[in-house]
Structure formats: structure tokens, C-alpha cells
Amino acid sequence: MVDPAFLLVSGLVVATSILAIESRQLVYGAVNLALMFLAVAGMFILLDAPFIAMFQIFVNVGAVAILVLFTVMLVSTERWARVPRGREFWAALGTSGLTVLALVSIVARTGLADVPPPPAAPTVGPEIGVVMLGNYGVALVLLGILLAASVIGAVALAKVEKG
């Protein structure tokens, strides 16, 4: 019925993200975050987007997860964070369960699962580049400006003011 690879990868995504949030030891949470990014990259590969998958691993695992881990290592003075599990947990579980049930019933009712996916060739660099620079060139430069502003802002915020 369903592709076993898809089940495996999506199971990994869900499992690692739950572990990332619920780990009591913060470093384990950061490591699980990196594993979750890896699993999402696997999802991208299954979706015929290998370039985006490489983008995901290179940027998210190679930069973001490392930065998170670095911060957690230096900041956490006690290694075990004990969060009391209150009534909100059961409310959240109930709400998310209802949401999943609603989505599954929508998919089953409207026959969305029976629509065959369009046969796609794997999307790699050249096609992406053509579209990115052709249609979205201005967006690219704006993105560059945004990134530049974020770097300058982050560095300016992180430094200790004199006096």
C-alpha cells in the first residue's frame, strides 16, 4: 500500500523530533535535532529533490545543528532539565490526536491518497538555477540583503557593549 521507505523515513522524523523535544538531557535534544534534519533530508530524497536534500544536510546539520549544540554545551550548567509534566501534556496529546484523525479522514474521504504522483525527474542544480535566476532573481538579491542584515544584527547583538 504505502512505500516502506516512506514509512521508515517519516517514522524516523517523528521519532527523532519527539526525542529532541522530550529529552531531559539538553545535549541529547540537540543531537536528536541533527538526526531529525538528517531524516528530513531523507524525505527530500524520496520526493525527487536530491539537491534540496543536500542543501538540507549541508546547511541544517552542518551549520544550524552545530550552532545549537555549541550553545547548549556552553550554556547548560546542569545537564538534566526536569520539566514537570502537567495537565497541558494530556491536552496537547488529545488535540494533536484529533488533528491527525481529522487529516486522515479528509485524505480518505476525498480520495487524495489515490491521486498518482506526477512522474518527475529528480530536480537537480541546472533546473533549479534556471528558475531561481530567471523568475526569482530579484528575490535572490533581496534574500542576500536579508542574510547580510541578519549577520550584522547578530554580531552586533552578541558583542558586549563597552562601558
Binding site: 545535549v27 539537491f51 536534500a53 552545530i66 549544540l69 542544480g125
Partner: protein
């Protein structure tokens, strides 16, 4: 070895065999008769015969992954590379190097080291995070091994190629700072943490120049597949070393920095912080983290350098393409190992300034020059 040691080993072996054999016979014999041999006949025997036949066939994936150009070949190659590095450094420093293991000039030294490491006590420091501490060497080896799958020695014996191979290589490399940081932190030792942070800054700083320096190559080739890179060099008749000298230089220097080799071995810095982030590891873990994974990465990086800039497996006929690839890779590895014997070590601030300033500038200049070059010769 003391008598108590042998006695302890015998006790542990007896314990292990008890806990393995008794449950297997207790549950296995009734299951064997009751369930009509469910596993052996239909599954295990055909699997074994298929495995053996695939291992004999040089074109099958099993052969490529396990034997050549995969793991076994590289491990044996790596063992000899370690020996060659020690001998080379020794000859440069007017010493002899390892000379006792093996009949001739200590050729079996690496294997002796491996057997020795297997018999050493594995010490996990007090307060260390056991899970991360013990799994860091394994993950480091898995990362190094995955790199091997991307480097193609020749079109017939490549494990994997795709339109994003180059990016896959860089993505797997970007795992290294993560593993090092985990290994450093889990040792519960403030000096290893400092070494790990230095390693993080170094690897992170030299990754951008490495990636940007291959941009010129991507411009010329129009694809990120490594086989395509060599094919374009074949068609042009020139290795990219001549067309992109700045990129080759930048890539070479960043390669040495990514491998944490001298002159960039400040994370390891064995006159300052003992052995840097590897300090608390002993026995097998030390072997894997300090000598196994770095040498395999050295082979993978040199293979990539050969593929990108020296023309991969290209060369005149009497020598087969695989051998050309390995000859060129070996020369690159030798040059990187020779640096070890010659240069002093960079300080962390010098190192970071070179990475972010000089090398990034060189890579961007190379990009500009490549654009002009493409405009001049209209390479498609």
C-alpha cells in the same frame, strides 16, 4: 601478563559463552523441531550463496562496497599510509622510524598497533556521558566511510555517482564538527572541550573557502557529478589544475585544514593540550578517532582532489585507469604527509584569519577569473 589477568579473561569468556549458548539451545532446539526449520532453509542458505557469488563478481555492488574500492581496500591502504607517514617524517628528520615489526623496515607496524589497541583497557572518564563518549568513534568512522562511497576511482569501479555527488561529499564533511564537538564535550574534561571548540572553529572556517573554490569548477563543468568533472577534463585535454590554479591551491590548503593536519593541527596541539579533544580516549577508540578516521578521510579528500583537479582516472593506455587514479592520489597523499614533517603549527587566530580572509578572497578571485575565462573561450 599476570595470572589474575588470564583468570579474569577466562571467567569473562565463560560468562559470555554461558549467556549466549544456554538460551540458544534452550529455546532454539524446540523451535528448530517445532517450527519446521523456518529460517535456515529458505532464507539463510540462499542469502549466503548469493553473498559469496556477489563477492566474487567485481561489478556487483557488494564487491564494490566491501572489497574494492570500498572498505577493506581502504583499511589496508590506510594501514600502510600510516606507516608511510611515520617513515617519511622520520627520514626527513634524519631518523629511521618504525623498524621492528615485520622483517623488512617495520612494514607490519600498523597491524601490530591495531592488535595492541584491541588489548588495551577502555577507560571511560568519571562523569562522562557514556553513550556519546563510546559512540563518537563509531560515528566518526561511519562518516569517513561514507565519504569513500562518493569518490570514483574509475567509471567501472565507482560505488555511487549522481548529479549532486560533490554536494554530497561536502554535506558528509560538514558532519565532522558535530562529531568532534560531541566527543570533546562528552569527555567531561575542560581541556578537551577547549580542543573541541578550536576544532569547531577551524573546520567551520575552512569549509567555506573549500566550497567556494569548487564553484569555478562547477561553472566550467555545468554539473556536480564527479564523473562529469573527469569527462570534461578528458574532452578539454587539460586537467583543471592548469585552468584553475587558484582553486586548486585553495582546495589543497583547506583540505589540509579540514583533516586537522599540520600545519593546522591546533585542535590536537600535542605540546599544549595533550591530545586535544581525543585526550580521554584509550585503546580502540583512540585508534579509530586518531588514526583510523583521519587517514580514511585523507584518502577520500585526496581522491576528490585528484578527481577534481588532476583528471581522476585519465592517463595513457598501458596503465589501467584505476591505477592512474591511485598513483595520482598517492602523490597527493604523500605531499600532504610531507607537510607534517616540515611546517610548524599555526596559532588559532592566525589560522582563522587565513581561513576567513586570505583563502576566501582567493576563492572569490578564482570565481571572478573563471567567469572571465568562460566568457573568453565559450566553454559549454
Amino acid at each position: 601478563m599476570a595470572v589474575t589477568d588470564i583468570w579474569q579473561m577466562i571467567k569473562r569468556l565463560a560468562e559470555l559463552s554461558f549467556w549466549l549458548l544456554v538460551p540458544i539451545t534452550l529455546f532454539g532446539i524446540p523451535a528448530y523441531y517445532a517450527l519446521e526449520r523456518p529460517i535456515i532453509q529458505p532464507y539463510v542458505l540462499p542469502f549466503l550463496t548469493r553473498l559469496m557469488s556477489e563477492l566474487m563478481d567485481p561489478a556487483s555492488l557488494t564487491f564494490k562496497v566491501i572489497l574494492y574500492p570500498g572498505f577493506t581496500f581502504v583499511v589496508i591502504y590506510a594501514a600502510f599510509l600510516v606507516l608511510i607517514e611515520r617513515k617519511l617524517a622520520a627520514k626527513v628528520q634524519l631518523r629511521v622510524g618504525p623498524q621492528y615489526a615485520g622483517r623488512y623496515e617495520g612494514v607490519l607496524q600498523s597491524f601490530a598497533d591495531m592488535f595492541k589497541a584491541l588489548s588495551k583497557e577502555v577507560i571511560v572518564p568519571a562523569g562522562a556521558d557514556r553513550l556519546i563518549f563510546l559512540s563518537a568513534p563509531i560515528i566518526s568512522m561511519v562518516v569517513a566511510g561514507t565519504l569513500l562511497a562518493v569518490v570514483p576511482p574509475s567509471p567501472q569501479s565507482l560505488i555511487f555517482d549522481s548529479p549532486v555527488s560533490l554536494l554530497l561529499f561536502f554535506s558528509v564533511i560538514s558532519f565532522s564538527p558535530l562529531v568532534i564537538l560531541l566527543a570533546a564535550w562528552s569527555s567531561n574534561n575542560k581541556f578537551t572541550l577547549v580542543g573541541g571548540l578550536r576544532a569547531l572553529h577551524q573546520l567551520v572556517s575552512y569549509e567555506i573557502p573549500m566550497v567556494v573554490s569548487t564553484l569555478g569548477l562547477a561553472l566550467l563543468v555545468g554539473s556536480l557529478s564527479l564523473v562529469d568533472v573527469v569527462r570534461v577534463q578528458e574532452r578539454l585535454g587539460l586537467p583543471f589544475l592548469l585552468l584553475q590554479p587558484l582553486a586548486a591551491l585553495t582546495f589543497y590548503i583547506t583540505m589540509v585544514a579540514e583533516l586537522e593536519r599540520i600545519p593546522f593541527d591546533i585542535p590536537e596541539a600535542d605540546s599544549e593540550i595533550v591530545a586535544g579533544w581525543v585526550t580521554e580516549y584509550s585503546g580502540v577508540n583512540h585508534l579509530l578517532l586518531y588514526g583510523g578516521a583521519p587517514v580514511i578521510k585523507l584518502y577520500a579528500f585526496s581522491g576528490l582532489f585528484t578527481t577534481l583537479f588532476l583528471g581522476g582516472w585519465l592517463g595513457p593506455p598501458p596503465i589501467p585507469p584505476d591505477l592512474w587514479f591511485h598513483l595520482k592520489t598517492f602523490l597527493v597523499i604523500l605531499s600532504v604527509q610531507a607537510l607534517r614533517a616540515i611546517y610548524p603549527r599555526y596559532r588559532i587566530d592566525q589560522l582563522l584569519r587565513i581561513g576567513w580572509g586570505t583563502l576566501l578572497m582567493l576563492a572569490l578571485i578564482n570565481l571572478a577569473l573563471t567567469i572571465l575565462l568562460m566568457g573568453a573561450i565559450q566553454v559549454v
